[in-house]
């Protein structure tokens, strides 16, 4: 794009961000403060992920951008266009083909490999924020590994609901040291983070923090021995590709409780259908709740 540097940011800024990334990789799960810049997209819309991607992307990279697991959601389209415009790199919707995948709220269903990097967009990087509003205090809690309050929260859930009621942004312990927010991915995706071959980078632009999980690192979802971590399950298979092991979105088909469940990872679903898998294609009805 005329008048702008490759990937928008100037090289000084990229170097500053790369230094922050290196530090983050060296201390897995630790939130590194960095001089986040104003980007031409709004804060809260992925500026952290965009700055991380902008500072690691090269001319030979192939970029995939997803939001809610889908390549075609408006914000994913907008970010992909931004990089196509400012770098000219090839973009793709195929998970296996991408060297960098920027994501909001999902990890692709297809396992990632050691030559891929997953860049997460993070709204609130601090997993202790809901228990302690003050940055000065939460930094001390991390420094001293004083994480008792995290389990107090889980205890409260079980005492109130009979189970841990957190369904997304479910806190994890990284490398047996730092408690980390996995960004608002569903807890369904948490197990994928554990010992992932790909490098995972997290960028929070508005909050000015970068953190990382290096390849093959321990990532454990917090739980109790007698109330172990569980991921979501569905009674239904994907209505389009019949998958029983992917995260499903619920699509409302009418105003009388009709629902259809389809894969949230659109690339995964399309690939399965190309390989000949089919779902029922039929909606299901959720009436029990409504009838009460």
């Amino acid at each position: 794009m005329r008048g702008y540097n490759f990937a928008y940011l100037d090289e000084q800024t990229k170097r500053m961000i790369r230094r922050a990334i290196l530090k983050a990789v060296a201390v897995p799960g630790y939130q590194v403060p960095f001089g986040s810049r104003e980007m031409p997209l709004p804060f809260g819309w992925g500026t952290g992920g965009i700055q991380v991607t902008a500072s690691i992307i090269g001319a030979d990279d192939v970029l995939k951008v997803i939001d809610q697991g889908a390549d075609d959601t408006t914000n994913a389209v907008s970010i992909r266009r931004f990089f196509a415009l400012t770098t000219g790199v090839r973009t793709t919707e195929e998970t296996a083909e991408a060297s960098i995948i920027q994501t909001r709220h999902r990890i692709p269903e297809k396992p990632l490999t050691a030559d891929q990097i997953l860049v997460y967009q993070v709204p609130i990087p601090e997993p202790l924020r809901w228990l302690e509003a003050r940055e000065t205090e939460t930094r001390k809690m991390h420094a001293l590994a004083e994480y008792g309050v995290m389990h107090v929260k889980l205890y409260e859930d079980i005492a109130t609901h009979g189970r841990i009621a957190t369904s997304y942004n479910y806190p994890v312990l990284v490398n047996e040291r730092h408690v980390m927010a996995p960004s608002p991915i569903p807890k369904f995706d948490n197990p994928k983070m554990d010992h992932m071959p790909a490098l995972q980078l997290f960028g929070a632009g508005r909050e000015k923090r970068i953190y990382a999980v290096p390849p093959y690192t321990d990532v454990k979802s917090l739980d109790f021995e007698d109330y172990p971590f569980e991921k979501q399950t569905w009674e239904h298979a994907c209505a389009l590709c019949g998958s029983r092991d992917s995260y499903l979105d619920e699509v409302v088909t009418d105003d009388r409780g009709g629902r259809m469940f389809v894969c949230s990872d659109t690339d995964y679903c399309a690939e399965r259908r190309d390989a000949g898998h089919v779902g029922t294609g039929a909606p299901v009805t959720y009436g029990a709740d409504a009838a009460e």
Binding site: P184, F188, R206, Y247
Partner: protein, 363 residues
């Protein structure tokens, strides 16, 4: 058969076309020029420059035009542009004592050296809609009301007068060799020093600072302020190029400065004296400068040994929430799809309800 929603790309392109059309409005009327905006909506341009942290009237006018008059959006445009600008150097501190004054008032002295200069102010206008202005063109061709004639001689600042008597705290940096902090390069850390706090407030949202400043007057952290001095006018910007080793005048800025003077009862170590709150904006930004000075003083509670008890004195609360580019982005990000997370919640709520139902029927 249901087909997954597609077409984000097309929808965005169409939305952008619609936006461009709305921005232009009815083509029966001529398009507005940047000159017109800079000249006739100059206070909008001033605010965009201040909170956009970039002094450039033309770019700020362009931002106002492109943002359809939405000033927070215009500020955002200017900030994003600012990111791409290389940094040539750091100027010398502005000498507002040498300001060529267009307006200068003090609420603490009836008359004072340099006198009170009312200047171009809305104060004392009756807020009556002027229907003559509604006419096309320029009905009441203003005769340049005898240009107030910028006051040229050096006008001493009110705090300097108090300073002679030792009645007001000295304002000296703890360490004059330490470079001034820069939030656009280094993220905010706590506790924050005053230089960083002032930069944060100078970039902060006028509405938010106005409300916070107002809250201190209504008892949420009262600082007993007096408007010691408000002055607006032009100041020179000087830079010392490394090759030259002496200061060169590189241009003029219009700025508004406010110094609040506040009561201070003294402490175990300090005798009673007046303390200061400081506000500065680009262009004409009196309301913002005053609010900023109130909040600056409230935030100094820690160094002055006052017990912080109200929102305006809470450093983390104030400094983390002043920036309207951050705030606007994060509030509006709620428009983005969250259906993956919402699905997670749906699954959980259904399970919890099913368990509750079982418990009810089971017993």
């Amino acid at each position: 058969m249901y087909v997954a929603v597609k077409g984000g790309e097309k929808a965005i392109a169409a939305a952008h076309r619609l936006l461009a059309e709305r921005r232009r409005g009815d083509r029966a009327h001529p398009g507005i020029t940047l000159k017109q905006i800079a000249e006739q909506l100059s206070l909008a341009v001033d605010r965009v420059m201040s909170e956009g942290s970039l002094y450039d009237r033309e770019l700020a006018a362009l931002a106002v035009k492109q943002a359809r008059g939405d000033l927070v959006e215009a500020i955002f445009l200017l900030r994003a542009f600012r990111t791409t600008l290389p940094r040539f150097g750091v100027t010398e501190p502005l000498d507002t004592g040498a300001m060529r004054i267009s307006r200068r008032i003090s609420a603490t002295y009836k008359d004072l050296p340099g006198s009170q200069v009312l200047g171009p102010t809305f104060d004392y206008t009756h807020r009556l809609l002027d229907f003559e202005l509604a006419e096309e063109g320029d009905p009441n061709s203003v005769s340049a009301a005898g240009d107030p004639g910028d006051v040229d001689e050096r006008v001493p600042r009110v705090v300097e007068l108090l300073d002679h008597e030792g009645l007001i705290e000295k304002e000296e940096p703890d360490d004059p060799d330490r470079p001034v902090g820069d939030l656009t390069r280094e993220p905010l850390g706590f506790p924050a020093d005053r230089d960083v706090r002032l930069q944060n407030l100078a970039r902060g949202d006028e509405g938010f600072l106005l409300a916070l400043g107002y809250s201190t007057q209504r008892g949420f952290g009262s600082t007993h302020p007096f408007a010691g001095e408000i002055r607006m006018g032009q100041v020179s910007v000087e830079l010392v190029p490394e090759e030259l080793g002496f200061a060169v005048d590189i241009g003029d800025l219009t700025v508004t400065e406010c110094e609040m003077i506040n009561q201070f009862k003294g402490s175990a170590t300090e005798p009673p004296q007046f303390t200061r709150g400081y506000g500065l904006t680009f262009g004409e930004g009196e309301r913002k400068a005053m609010a900023m000075a109130l909040v600056d003083r409230a935030l100094r509670c820690r160094e002055l040994g006052e017990e912080p008890s109200s929102p305006a004195q809470d450093e983390e609360f104030v400094l983390y929430h002043t920036d309207n580019v951050e705030a606007s982005g994060f509030v509006q990000h709620l428009k983005l799809p969250h259906y993956v997370d919402f699905q997670g919640e749906l699954v959980t709520v259904r399970e919890l309800r099913a368990e509750a139902r079982q418990r009810k029927t089971g017993t």
